[in-house]
Symmetry: C2
Subunit: 566 residues, 2 copies
């Protein structure tokens, strides 16, 4: 069951739902004309359909493996990654000075969505490289940029992110990897890092590790962390990969899914590294990388949802059952409920992700703080809701398959297993929700209220035409506003006690806003019907979620660990 | 991280929540004294902790496999199954005339819960055998009973259920396996059956297949189906397993989880079978088996939830993080939210399952139709909510583990993969919800209203003591009553369009009822605190679910397959 790139869906979202017209109207992104967008989406879609999608099963059946210290990637992945690199798809948003195309993040987001749907474990490789390119563009010295960016953008070299250590998971500040000055401007990096996605491969000429470490005498916590670029092979004078650096892959993890993506334990034994950004300022550079990586991981969830949805729909349409020979299980109300839920939620999550990308592009193009705040607000929502949606939709995909869903040969289970990690890595979804109610509401809720004002104004405007859809959306916005006001008035602990249901409730309401926009743009059409399904059936979940969100920490901590003991 | 049998939790539920006192007060179950219950739960718990729990990982790592036509089971499973058989745990509820103990189904339910938590893939074997014992007790001839029941009850022989065929999944009536009279009272069975759990093994002396098939000239659909007992080896004159029957395992499925349970494709080539019950009345006998199997599968979900919960709690309590050396991730509000959700939902699902078993016992003891209707009403709820809870709790267990949750070595992922099938087999949860809003409301809602009357009376009685818990439960009962009235007034299609959210909403409210009972029995104690968590944070979900349930089929079918196309 081949993947079909949803190019016309992206086109509709760009034109009518997520405000891409604002991006194209800027000088910075004036080149992103409809023709360019169509060409990019069409070509990328074709690559995903024809080259990447056929690799999906191979990655699962033949996991990457470690052989005598070298990571051997899954069959076909070499060709897949080369095709991505040769098409220029790694870094269409990157700086043209170094070989990028300078196109909007909104377009990267659509391309990443399609690549994730086609082959998630493979797509993680360019996603990591994209993050590294961003970090270097923003924080590295010109010398490092000139040496590394062209290689990363062209795909000759690949990038990784090294944050986590065995004793320092979500608490990044607890990391202990050391960086000692070598006296020649370089540093000797020593320590162990875990969960390094695509920590090595047998495809690219070089692998460039961005590693968080501590300089001698650095203060404890996140303020004493610096960022280093540590290549697998040290570039020689000509810039070509030279001597092997003092680092190695200790082992690869045996994971629930995403088998095609090698997840490495990395050991650095005095490896030569170069400082990126200022000393002790590593977290700031890492956040540049993480913010866009969070958007990217949310989009992985959405792509996986699309893949799982198409897979389930094709199965259901082919699964005969019922009174006549033409009946299939799609005639069953509950199968149709599942399919419609999958489609409506994927649409909502995708609209949120694209609106997030539009905000990033507008920030880039205009430098306006409001757009920066919008992007910052939406990022944890995109990450958590995108990946929750990926997991929920893939689960429904298994269920649509009935007994066949549990049998690996159909591929339905693989979507579910592969996408599961997206709710964990790049900051668990719990961490995302703390980011939302903590850092992102620290402005007193200003960015959230500004978004709610727009949402309510849109709902008001829709009342005349679509009263049955507009009214519940407006009411839901009010409930979200009240809950946001409650959040802003609380201390950290009470916010955190309701942060996950708050984020989910926020996403539910925001998804309704975009569905309503789609309905207005497609009166009497399929988007209006899908919006009706979402607004009448899925939106009401926000009531329970936002009620939960407002409970505070009291009754949660009243439950002692003794109470919780089995 | 070893499993600890929650014996005191069962004791509390029996004594204060699910009305087990009524069962013990009957003549039929007078032997189920507190001493007997304690002895049974204590002994079964010990077996689960010491013998079965250590087998959990082996089943996953070393799947059952087919070798020259023989199924080789996972390492240690032979000893585990023998220990279950020797302890008499397969059929404590079975007829004492054939070697059972005649104890209540409520106790079987608790024992099955513990065995499921300890090793789900292994526990499926005795569960299948239990269902077969029930079917034979109720429908087989005395001759068959005398020959087979003692062997099945002792565990010397094992039983399977054969319904599904490649072209007939949820639509059982479409099956085509043939049964032709041999002229000597036996029948020749020919056809292929799929998804046969524990279809064969290298442990028991014999494997007894209950097979649905069609006699020559039978009418199409479910009314032309008969049930046959088809042993792997045909008993000789002394009743010992004799000649091999004409049946074989064609292949074993490669599954997402539950690797220790061999899932077979079975081929019958004129195999000798014996009719169970009347000709063309096979579905009635099968329903006996299925109803209790549905309770049993719901309980599998609950046991898996308990196992996953204990596993996650132990991990969280050992995972240091934070300001002092004594801080662990349990100090984080969101980790605590996840743990409390896992515990509160497992409690609710378990109470529903035990109340279901109490109703079955009361039906058995009193023959009263109200108890039969109560049991029938609760069965699809137990099955679907129990297994949904298993899946959701295991998912949360993965999330509590953070990055380690995705790594197979921790075992968290295994709970999630293993339990996934429980929402599919024994009638998908969609089928359960159709059973609830279809068959189970065909009495005009009488059984549901009777239950709601009890729930509301309890909430009324709790108002004086626990107003903050009683009021939301009472309100939720009213919403459930209104939704039930709406359902009863609709045609099938409109009911089915909201059946899954209706079932889930029903379970949410019913779970609150049992939590409230627990709170009243444990004022100021942990059950009151857990009830407060459930009622204030999880119960509000019913609003969204029941709103969804009342939407009808119109907007669902307005979405055409073209609209849904990718």
């Amino acid at each position: 069951m081949p993947y079909r790139a949803p190019v016309s869906e992206f086109r509709f979202l760009f034109d009518h739902v997520v405000g891409f017209d604002q991006v194209v109207a800027t000088e910075r992104f004036a080149e992103a004309t409809p023709e360019t967008v169509n060409a990019v989406l069409g070509e990328a879609g074709k690559l995903c359909e024809e080259v990447l999608s056929p690799l999906q099963r191979a990655g699962d059946l033949h996991p990457a493996r470690l052989e005598n210290g070298i990571v051997r990637t899954s069959p076909g992945f070499r060709d897949g990654l080369r095709a991505i690199a040769e098409g220029g798809w790694i870094a269409i948003a990157a700086d043209p000075e170094y070989g990028g195309m300078g196109l909007p993040m909104t377009m990267t987001t659509a391309v990443n969505d399609m690549m994730s749907a086609a082959c998630l474990s493979l797509q993680l490789a360019p996603l990591m490289t994209q993050g590294q390119i961003e970090a270097l563009e923003n924080h590295a010295s010109d010398e490092l940029k000139e040496l590394y960016l062209p290689k990363l953008i062209s795909g000759e070299w690949m990038g990784t992110m090294n944050l986590t250590e065995p004793q320092a998971g979500s608490d990044v500040g607890a990391l202990t990897t050391k960086a000692e000055p070598n006296g020649d401007g370089t540093y000797a990096i020593t320590g162990q890092k875990i969960y390094i996605s695509w920590g090595d491969n047998d495809i690219s000429e070089n692998v460039c590790h961005l590693v968080l470490a501590r300089l001698p005498g650095a203060v404890p916590g996140t303020k004493g962390i610096s960022l280093f670029l540590v290549p697998k092979r040290i570039p020689d004078e000509s810039g070509a990969p030279g001597l092997a650096n003092s680092l190695k892959v200790v082992s690869l993890e045996h994971k629930m899914g995403l088998h095609g993506s090698p997840t490495a334990v990395m050991q650095y034994d005095g490896a030569t590294g170069w400082l990126v950004g200022e000393e002790n300022d590593g977290m700031r550079a890492m956040f540049t990388m993480m913010n866009n990586a969070r958007l990217g991981v949310g989009v992985q969830g959405i792509g996986a949802a699309e893949g799982a949805y198409q897979h389930a729909l094709a199965y259901a349409e082919g699964r005969k059952q019922g009174r006549t020979e033409n009946n299939t299980i799609t005639d069953h109300a509950d199968v149709r409920r599942m399919l419609a839920t999958m489609k409506a939620d994927t649409f909502a999550a995708r609209a949120i992700a694209l609106a997030n990308a539009v905000a990033i592009d507008m920030e880039t193009a205009t430098g306006h703080a409001d757009w920066a705040a919008r992007a910052a607000l939406l990022t944890p929502i995109t990450k958590a809701f995108g990946t929750d949606t990926g997991i929920d939709v893939a689960e429904l995909g298994v269920q649509v398959h009935g007994g066949m869903g549990f049998i690996e040969e159909t591929g339905a289970a693989q979507y579910s297993r592969d996408v599961r990690v997206t709710a964990i890595y790049e900051g668990t979804n719990g961490i995302q929700s703390m980011d939302l109610v903590g850092r992102k509401l620290m402005d007193g809720g200003e960015a959230a209220y500004r978004l709610l004002d727009e949402m309510e104004a849109d709902a008001e405007a829709a009342r005349a035409d679509l009263p049955e859809l507009a009214e519940p959306v407006w009411q839901a916005c009010e409930t979200l506003r009240e809950t946001t006001e409650w959040m802003v008035a609380q201390g950290a602990q009470d916010r955190f006690a309701g942060s996950v249901p708050y984020l989910r409730g926020f996403a539910r309401v925001l998804g309704a806003h975009f569905h309503l926009k789609a309905a207005r743009a497609d009166r009497g059409g399929k988007h209006e019907r899908l919006a009706a399904f979402y607004i009448h059936r899925l939106l009401p979940e926000h009531i329970g979620l936002l009620t939960h969100a407002r409970q505070g920490a009291g009754d949660l901590y009243a439950l002692s660990l003794d109470d919780l003991a089995a």
